[in-house]
Symmetry: C2
Subunit: 546 residues, 2 copies
Amino acid sequence: MAKLRIVPLGGLGEIGKNMMVYEYGDDILIVDAGIMFPENDMLGVDYIIPDIQYLKDKTHKVKGIVITHGHEDHIGAIRHILEEINAPIYATPLTQGLIEVKLARDGNLDIAQLITINAGDTIQVGVFTVEFAHVSHSIPDCVALGITTPEGLIVHTGDYKFDHTPVDNWPTDFAKLAEWSARGVLALLGDSTNADKPGWTPSERLIDDAFDKVFRTAPARILVASFASLISRMQQVGEAAARHGRKISFVGTSMRDNAKMAMRLGYLVLDENMVIPLEEAVKMNPKEVVLMGTGTQGEPSSIVGRLSVGTNRQFDLKPDDTIVLSSHPIPGNEEMVSRTINRLIQRGATVIYDPIMPVHVSGHAAQEEMKLMLHLIKPKYLVPVHGELRHLRQHGNMGEQLGIPKENIAVVENGRVIEFEKGKMKIGERVPGGYVFVDGTRVGSISSAVVREREELSRDGVVFVNLMVSHKDRRLMEEPEIITRGFVHSEDGSGSELMSRARQHISDRVATANGNLRQELESSLRSYLHQQTRRRPLVFVVVNEV
Amino acid sequence: MAKLRIVPLGGLGEIGKNMMVYEYGDDILIVDAGIMFPENDMLGVDYIIPDIQYLKDKTHKVKGIVITHGHEDHIGAIRHILEEINAPIYATPLTQGLIEVKLARDGNLDIAQLITINAGDTIQVGVFTVEFAHVSHSIPDCVALGITTPEGLIVHTGDYKFDHTPVDNWPTDFAKLAEWSARGVLALLGDSTNADKPGWTPSERLIDDAFDKVFRTAPARILVASFASLISRMQQVGEAAARHGRKISFVGTSMRDNAKMAMRLGYLVLDENMVIPLEEAVKMNPKEVVLMGTGTQGEPSSIVGRLSVGTNRQFDLKPDDTIVLSSHPIPGNEEMVSRTINRLIQRGATVIYDPIMPVHVSGHAAQEEMKLMLHLIKPKYLVPVHGELRHLRQHGNMGEQLGIPKENIAVVENGRVIEFEKGKMKIGERVPGGYVFVDGTRVGSISSAVVREREELSRDGVVFVNLMVSHKDRRLMEEPEIITRGFVHSEDGSGSELMSRARQHISDRVATANGNLRQELESSLRSYLHQQTRRRPLVFVVVNEV
């Protein structure tokens, strides 16, 4: 007898966020395929994708991939997944548009089977019947899923908030959620991102007032920074521009491509002559223009990142520019964002960011909204997803407060199987897998072992010693050569002295060594350097016998 | 004619926080000598101290060092400064106690000239008359300074908030501040830490309610984590323990030493039999004890850090332990703190932190308090200090809103001299200096160049190639040896294949090279590896000619 198995894939970090697998007998439904952002000690890693090892010998079972919305952490890994699994991808028009823009840039749009669905639709993916309910979030055209499985109805919220006045005037579909509830919901897989935030998340409309104040008072040019996929923010900036007699210019390829696509599909509604190319914008009266680009996370390659250090090619910062950072730092980026703000100020700009003014609100439900979702759906089981373990636990606590028995709540990590059989939930085994690091263009060529080595290198640096030794009598043929990086500055005073002493130390040891010369020298030099500096660089000695 | 020169020392980061120099003719007064915490990309740096290059040839002019309060970022660099400048150090009793505990541990207490002062006192330091006004903060016995200089009266707030119900029942001395104001204040150097936080910072007393709730509901042992110098938090935890029939045990050397000292001096008032040693605490009924230790920043060496990974020696985490993180993450530590919370939850503990419950409040004035300070002091000039550039700018904006002319507000970075002459302020030159990194025991032996090298190493790793080449005909005498770290995993599939191809590439190049072999090989291998992987490791080739 088959069971329903639900498997969140990915390493630690945000759980059940980037990819979720629903499996029943020979049918697999994948929900979302997104990237994660590396933590600060994942050195030199560009981004992370979920490890799909678990699906390796089951790719033929995958009947479809359903995408809840068009943010990077839900669509960013599609190009990598496509290399292994080429199942139909179901998405709403805007989400599909964003996927197409991405795949076109990476050159694998042609192999993707993209199928448009709309909120209110019902599709069949193998044994699963999937219904779509519109939810509001910080991007339009998001859906929650009602997945009818042989075990019962599962509600998968995706990212959501209960915004009564969203930018696209299309609030969360309470009626559809209530209808599912009336049918009886086996389990709720609910967004936990803001589980430690009390109250309600404010409406996106709150931002309009802040924008009005900025547009009213800015003495010259305005640059609003946001994510390239934040279509509703583009709409708000465009509307504010129209209200205050400015034209808008989208800066950067991804921002421009997404804006064009969203205008074509009708998700971004701006008067055609409002939108002008950058070349024109930089020549206009600064009071009559607003630029919109990327860089709210302080990414060095973004427009704002480049402006903050003076390396933007098409235009430079002017002293009376006003920069609006219309987003919050992604956890772990706080320091980089602060530094970027400080640099912009140092270069003369006025910088507006939350909490200076409410120019951004979260796209995720806060505690009271999560409780509303729980009461609306009335699930038998609760599986908190989307968030770190602490958010999941807090979501679980709220479930308990609202009367769900503790044993009906599954707070699990990525890779842990949740099974449903005869209407009962069981926490199953842990499947292999975790993170796949992407660095450069190669996927998976750097393992966590390589990242650990980078961490070692970064802690105290590295010392290489090159020796020529006579084979006959183990005599040094040349002065030892030492190359060091990240340990001491070997060209100045104390560093170069230390290096001379280290060379002497090696020469002495070569004379007295009697076993494996390389090993003896490495271990002896390691101790010597630690004793001299209290630091432990990596030490490598090569012995060339002549 | 002499001028008053005020110089904030340190690199970028928090400005005017860790050390401030007041100079007039042949007299120098130093205020505070604290450490900074390294940012995430300052790899392998333990902490940072201000660069005192500027004072190098002026040490004889230093007539005294005044310390405003006993936090690390105000006292942590004293031991290093003492090696260069041995002037009298003036501090209130608790601050002095904290300095003594630190210096005793580092073995240089005997050379320090510590002089006790109290709020209300007046001292003469060279040409400067320094008066002390009590201010509330998150540690008792803090003082603001009224510094009478030949140019006029300067008010230096230090860290402060206007807490009407502080734990030690000793609020900020409004009367003294008002008295200074009545005399006419030339310039205010005011704490800007929370300049972007609207409203008022809540009173420390708010925490008592949260503690009561935790103590009432915790099913077993409670561990409250905080900074070792947060004496008032020790008092609050001790009082909560007494109210709820628990005994308290301070865990860890610094926490225990500070508690002992504070009890001796009367700043921590707890019934003697309330405080028990750890050995006893771990044997007691878990419901009758609360432990207090360090680790709110997720530091791996702290009690909480060790408990989160299961490496604490004296006691381990139990599943129904409640861990209270009674502090906020220091900017840049957010990720480490989240990870620690997740690990504690993973190991079964309940973790309480703000915003789950208000178990910590800021020790710094928020916007409305800063405005109150401005109106109370009515300075002619405003020099925002303590904070990143963005906080200083925001403090400056508030000053403008309150009527201080823009040209009377100096938002400057560390190292910039502010001069007062004939009652007029001028922004002067920039003095050399910046950060001094401390790694291991050695001060300054790692420069920012070394830290940059670590960053390079950590980005894509390092590749070393060892060659034996015949001197005569440049023929390879041995297969090239390659050592790599942090680049590819050279022992498994794709990594070891890449290394074979790289060895072949080198062999080919040796045969055809005609210039400087080392340089040619390094540059050619660099391009080859980049073309193969899109990554740019550091590449070093040593050529041993035989």
